[in-house]
């Protein structure tokens, strides 16, 4: 806003034209409106531009008002008494913005309802938006709670699996195979295999020591009759115990059987007969 007595900054006529047509962003509209205060020259030029624009309006095809338009207006007029000078002596010019709601609140057969219901629609929309946001917040909290529970569950499972592995792999674990009394212990092996992950765990007991330069090797026998897949070499400890935990295996190989052979140290690409242990 310009101070009284100061020279107001000139407003480019091009901007004034756009201002008169409301063709500027809100921020620039506000800036020019502020610059127009206490700026008689700017106001005068704006008035001339408005006059020019009234001429532009005349370039539209001239159409008569719809039939019965005055009668509809008259109906609304009778619901709204004119505010004469005696009744409102001090108000002076009023702003359209102040009466817009009152105008649009009056009934009219032809009038669209958007203006009347706009505040209510906005209020309803806000209420719905709040409800949706509240629901979404609750949903997100539920989802977060669910995720937290899932994480806790997974952590518990991982901890349990870790404990299992530690027990299985502990070199000092006492491993005992129980058999019928006085029956010599036979070599056995147990495999747990997940084909889709290529994950395998094997435990073997009562294995005899292999000769020097030899090793046990586990094989996955594919269900597709393809060549056996080597699943890792291992040596039993002094008690005949050995294990393989998650050896490197391709995933997706359905197994119809497993076998253990004795191979040269370092393993073999193909199993060497005889098969010491096998299972389907």
């Amino acid at each position: 806003m310009n101070r009284p007595g100061s020279n107001p900054a000139p407003i480019p006529a091009e901007d004034l034209a756009l201002y008169a047509m409301q063709a500027l962003p809100a921020q620039e509209m506000a800036a020019i409106a502020a610059a127009l205060r206490d700026n008689p020259q700017g106001q005068q030029e704006l008035a001339r531009i408005q006059g020019d624009l009234a001429l532009v309006a005349l370039s539209a095809d001239q159409q008569p008002a719809p039939a019965g338009a005055f009668e509809r207006l008259q109906q609304r007029m009778r619901e709204t008494a004119p505010a004469g000078p005696a009744s409102v002596p001090s108000e002076g010019p009023i702003e359209m913005t102040a009466t817009q709601a009152e105008i649009t609140a009056a009934p009219s057969a032809r009038r669209s309802k958007w203006a009347t219901f706009t505040p209510w629609v906005i209020a309803a929309a806000l209420a719905i938006a709040c409800a949706i946001l509240g629901y979404r917040t609750a949903s997100l909290n539920d989802a977060l709670d669910g995720e937290s529970g899932l994480v806790s569950n997974l952590a518990a499972k991982a901890s349990h699996a870790q404990q299992v592995l530690e027990v299985l792999n502990a070199p000092n674990a006492q491993r005992v195979t129980l058999t019928a009394t006085k029956t010599p212990a036979e070599p056995t092996a147990h495999t747990v295999y997940l084909a889709d992950r290529g994950a395998l765990v094997m435990e073997a007991n009562n294995l005899k020591p292999v000769p020097a330069g030899k090793t046990y090797e586990l094989w996955v026998i594919p269900a597709s009759d393809a060549a056996p897949v080597p699943a890792g070499t291992f040596q039993p400890n002094g008690e005949g115990y050995a294990s393989l935990v998650l050896p490197t295996l391709p995933s997706g190989i359905a197994a119809k059987a497993f076998g253990i052979t004795i191979e040269n140290a370092g393993g073999s690409a193909k199993p060497t007969l005889p098969i010491i242990l096998s299972g389907e």
């Binding site: 370039s59 001239q62 609304r76 505010a83 009466t99």
Partner: protein, 197 residues
């Protein structure tokens, strides 16, 4: 009385007498009577200006129902407070049509009314006396508009009747912002000079 609304008559002249040269009661006197609740005076004003007001709104909105909404609001506003129009602002007809255009743009852009009546002040280049002169004015405006360079007229019409901002016009036409501004300004200058000559 025939329905004058079927024959749109843009802005009549105001004189210092209560009746002008064509025998019509001048706007100021009519507004005074409207202030007293005279529906007959309001009807005269409505019949006199409803065509241009409705036409301007219709040109913007392309919807007869919405155009009538705007027209009704503008005239009802005048009925509620005829002192809203101050004679020093210029022609009542020009004032009504500019307010109607602005309201139509507000409706088109689904925004609240963005200017007050006080913001619309006009000198009186569009005052004309009598129906014949009014028709001549309309024809002259159209002739001048048709004679504008195409890009000037397009920019002006996009801003005035379509309610596009200068940046939206620049995006649509591919012209720089400054060029759009200059074209609109030049078009208005041409129009003004044509009526000042």
């Amino acid at each position: 009385m025939s329905d004058p609304s079927s024959n749109p008559k843009p802005f009549p002249n105001r004189t210092s007498n209560s009746e002008n040269a064509t025998g019509s009661v001048e706007d100021t006197a009519l507004l005074s009577r409207v202030g007293q609740g005279d529906e007959g005076a309001m009807e005269i004003i409505f019949r006199r200006y409803s065509g241009p007001v409705y036409s301007a709104a219709l040109r913007v909105l392309h919807d007869t129902g919405q155009a009538e909404d705007v027209m009704q609001e503008v005239f009802l506003q005048l009925w509620r407070n005829p002192t809203a129009f101050v004679q020093s602002r210029g022609s009542l007809g020009a004032w009504l049509v500019v307010v109607a255009r602005n309201r139509a743009i507000d409706l088109l852009r689904r925004r609240k009314p963005s200017d007050s009546v006080d913001d619309v002040a006009l000198p009186s280049p569009v005052n004309v006396a009598g129906e014949a002169e009014r028709n001549i004015t309309v024809e002259k405006v159209r002739r001048v508009m048709a004679g504008l360079p195409q890009e000037q007229r397009t920019s002006l019409e996009l801003a005035y009747f379509e309610g596009l901002s200068h940046s939206e016009i620049a995006s649509r036409t591919g012209d720089p912002l400054g060029t759009v501004k200059t074209r609109i300004r030049q078009a208005l200058i041409t129009l003004r000079k044509a009526f000042e000559a």
